[in-house]
Amino acid sequence: MDFLNIFRIALRALARNKMRSALTMLGIIIGVGAVIATVSIGQGAEYLVQQGIQSMGTNAVFISAGSGRPGGARMGFWAVKSLTLDDLQAILREVPLVREAAPAVVSRSQVVYQNQNWNTGVLGTTPNYFEIRAWPVQAGSVFSQEEVEYAANVCVLGTTVANYLFPNESPIGKTIRIGTLPFRVTGVLESKGQSVMGDDQDDRIFAPFTTVQKKIAGITWIQFINASAVTQEASVAAVRPITQLLRERHHIRAGEDDDFFVRTQSEVADLADQTSQVMTLLLGSIASVSLFVGGIGIMNIMLVSVTERTREIGVRMAVGATPADVQNQFLVEAVTLSMLGGVMGIAAGLAGSALISSFLKWPTLISGKAIIIAALFSAGVGVFFGYYPAHKAARLDPIEALRHE
C-alpha cells in the first residue's frame, strides 16, 4: 500500500479522537518547545557572555600587582607596591608579542558638579587605554599624552557618571570636582554596559594616571597594566615571557611566589564559554526528559488504540492487509502524532523564547540546528515509541481479532 494512503488513514484515525490526539501531541509540543526554548536561552547567555568579553578586547592581557597564590599572608592586589611604570616600559621593550600597554591607578572619590554629586571610581591611565579596550568617546575627546605628562586636571566620564552629574546638559568643557580638585571634562565615553563580573563599567571617571597618582591617591606605583597583544593567540603566548620578565625585575627567586598576576582575555573567554555551554547542555537535557515523557504518552495511547481497534485490524487483515500493512499503518499514525507535535512544539519554543527575551531583556539565539534536531528527534520519538504498539497490532491473529468484542 502506498504511503499517501497510509498517511490519509492515519490522519483520519487521529481526527476521530481529536481530544485524545491533541493531548498526546501536547506532551511532544511541551517537550520540543522546552528543548528549543532552553537551548535558545542558553545560547543567548553564551552570546551575552561572549559579547561582554569581546567588549574588553580579545587580545587583552591584564597584569595586576599582588599575589595570586592562596594560603600564607595573601595581600590584596592593590596593597602590593610591586608594579611600576618601569615594568610597563620593560614589557613593551622586551616582549614583542605585546603591542601596547596602558597603566592603571584606581581610587574612589566623591565627585561634584554644582548641586549634583556621585561617588565613583577614578581610573588613572594613558590615552592608549581607550584603544586597547576598544572604547570610543561618544562626545568630546579623550585627554592627550601631553596632559598625562604634566599631570593635567582633565577627565573623561563614563555614561553613568555623566548621567548623574549632568542630567540636563552637555558635560564637555565643564569643570567638576573630584575630591577637592577641579577637573575639566574633555569627553564622555560610549556606554559599555556590565562587565562579565557584573559591575557597571560606565560608572567610572578616567583621568591621566600621573594626576591620579600624585593628586588623588598619593602613590608612586601603578596597580594594573592593561596590555594588548598583537593577536589573540599572542595574548596567551605572551603570558610566559611577561611572567619571566617581571620575576627577574622583581628579583623573585625560583620557588618563590609571583607578586603579580597575568591574565589573558581568552582564558576568561574560554572559561565563560565552557560555563555557559555546560548550562545549555544541562537545560537542554532536562527539557529533553519531557520529550521522552511525551514519547511514553504516544506509546500509551497507541497501545490503547490497538486494543480498541482490534476488530478493525481483524477486518483489514481478512480483506487482505498483510502484517506489514498493519504495522505501517500504526507506525505512521504514531509518527504523524509526534511530527505534528514537533512542528507545533517548534512554534511554541520560538514563541516562548521570544516572550522570554522581551520580558527579561535577555537575548535568545534561535539556532537552526536546534530546530532541525528537535524535528528529527520528535520523528524518532514517534518511531521508537510507536514501534512496539504497531508490532503488537501486526502480530494479531486475524481470527482472534475478528472475534474481539
Binding site: 494512503n5 478493525e312 483489514r316 481478512a318 480483506v319 498483510t322 502484517p323 506489514a324
Partner: protein, 269 residues
C-alpha cells in the same frame, strides 16, 4: 450420502476447492482439541454450499481454513489449483485479498467510514489506483442495490443494508469465492431472505461460488448442497432436493409496509 474423496493430487478443471485429509488440532497445554479429523472434500466452481453443524462441530474451523485465515495442522488445501496449506502470512493475505470475499455475522464494517470507503477497503490493499477504486466500489454497491447510499455511514444503515455493504465489499476484488459465516445470524427473517436472494443471484448470474456457514436449516435450503459436520468429521454431504428460491419466498412474505401497518394496528390496540 455422497462422499467426495479424491486421492490424487490433480484437480479437475471445475474444482475450486480441494481439501485432502485436512486436520486441525489445537494444543491447549494438557488437552489436545481435534477440531477437524481428516476432512477431504471438493467444491466445484459455481456451487452454493451450506456448511452446517452444531457449535463445536468444526464448521467454524473449516471456514477459517477455507478463508485462509488459518492453516491446517496436517493435510493439504488446494485453492484454485494452488496448495495454500504451507503459505506464509503475507502470501495468505494476498490470497484473501484477490481470491476470497468475506461476509460476517456481525457485518464488521469500519465505523464512521462511509459505505463506499468500506467497500473500497480490499482494493486499497490490492494496490488499485484511487479512481479505479471508487469506480469499482460504486459498481459493487449497485450490484447489492445500495448505489444510493454510498455516502452513508454504517450507523445510518439498517442491519440488512449493512450486510449488503459487507457483500459489496466481498465482491469488489472479483473473488473466486464468497465465504459467509452466519450471514443472517443478526437479521430478521425477511431481511435474511433478502440477503439470501442477493447471494443466490450472484451465484446464478455470475457463477460465483458461495460457501455459507449456518446452523439454520431453512437458510441452508437456499444452497444447492449441504455439508453437515459433527465432531470434526463430515457427517452428511448431500444435494438440496427442495431448494428454496429467495425471490419467490420474498414474494410470498408480507412486505415491510404491510408489517409496519400491522405493527401500527397492534400499537393502537
Amino acid at each position: 450420502m455422497k462422499e467426495l474423496q479424491t486421492q490424487s493430487g490433480g484437480a479437475g478443471a471445475g474444482t475450486l476447492i480441494r481439501l485432502d485429509r485436512v486436520t486441525k488440532t489445537y494444543d491447549l497445554g494438557e488437552v489436545q482439541v481435534h477440531a477437524l479429523r481428516g476432512i477431504s472434500l471438493e467444491i466445484q466452481r459455481g456451487e452454493f454450499v451450506a456448511i452446517m453443524g452444531a457449535s463445536g462441530s468444526g464448521k467454524s474451523t473449516l471456514m477459517n481454513i477455507l478463508g485462509c485465515l488459518d492453516r491446517p495442522t496436517s493435510g493439504r488445501y488446494f485453492l484454485d489449483g494452488v496448495d495454500v496449506s504451507g503459505m506464509s502470512k503475507e502470501e495468505l493475505a494476498r490470497i484473501r485479498n484477490r481470491k476470497l470475499g468475506f461476509v460476517f455475522q456481525h457485518f464488521n464494517l469500519l465505523a464512521r467510514t462511509s459505505a463506499l470507503e468500506n467497500v473500497e477497503l480490499p482494493t486499497v490493499y490490492a494496490g488499485v489506483p484511487p479512481e479505479e477504486r471508487t469506480r469499482r466500489a460504486r459498481e459493487a454497491l449497485e450490484r447489492v442495490g445500495l448505489g444510493e447510499r454510498a455516502e452513508h455511514h454504517p450507523s445510518q444503515l439498517s442491519g440488512g443494508q449493512q450486510q449488503r455493504v459487507a457483500i459489496a465489499r466481498a465482491l469488489v476484488n472479483n473473488p473466486q469465492i464468497v465465504l459467509a459465516d452466519e450471514p443472517t445470524g443478526n437479521l430478521d427473517s425477511r431481511t435474511s431472505v433478502e440477503i439470501m436472494e442477493i447471494l443466490q443471484r450472484l451465484n446464478e448470474e455470475q457463477e460465483l461460488t458461495v460457501v455459507i456457514v449456518t446452523h439454520e436449516t431453512d437458510i441452508a435450503h437456499y444452497a444447492k448442497r449441504a455439508i453437515e459436520f459433527r465432531d470434526g468429521r463430515v457427517r452428511r454431504d448431500q444435494v438440496i432436493e427442495k431448494r428454496l428460491v429467495a425471490h419467490e419466498v420474498l414474494a410470498s412474505l408480507p412486505t415491510r409496509e404491510e408489517m409496519d401497518a400491522e405493527e401500527e394496528t397492534e400499537a393502537k390496540v
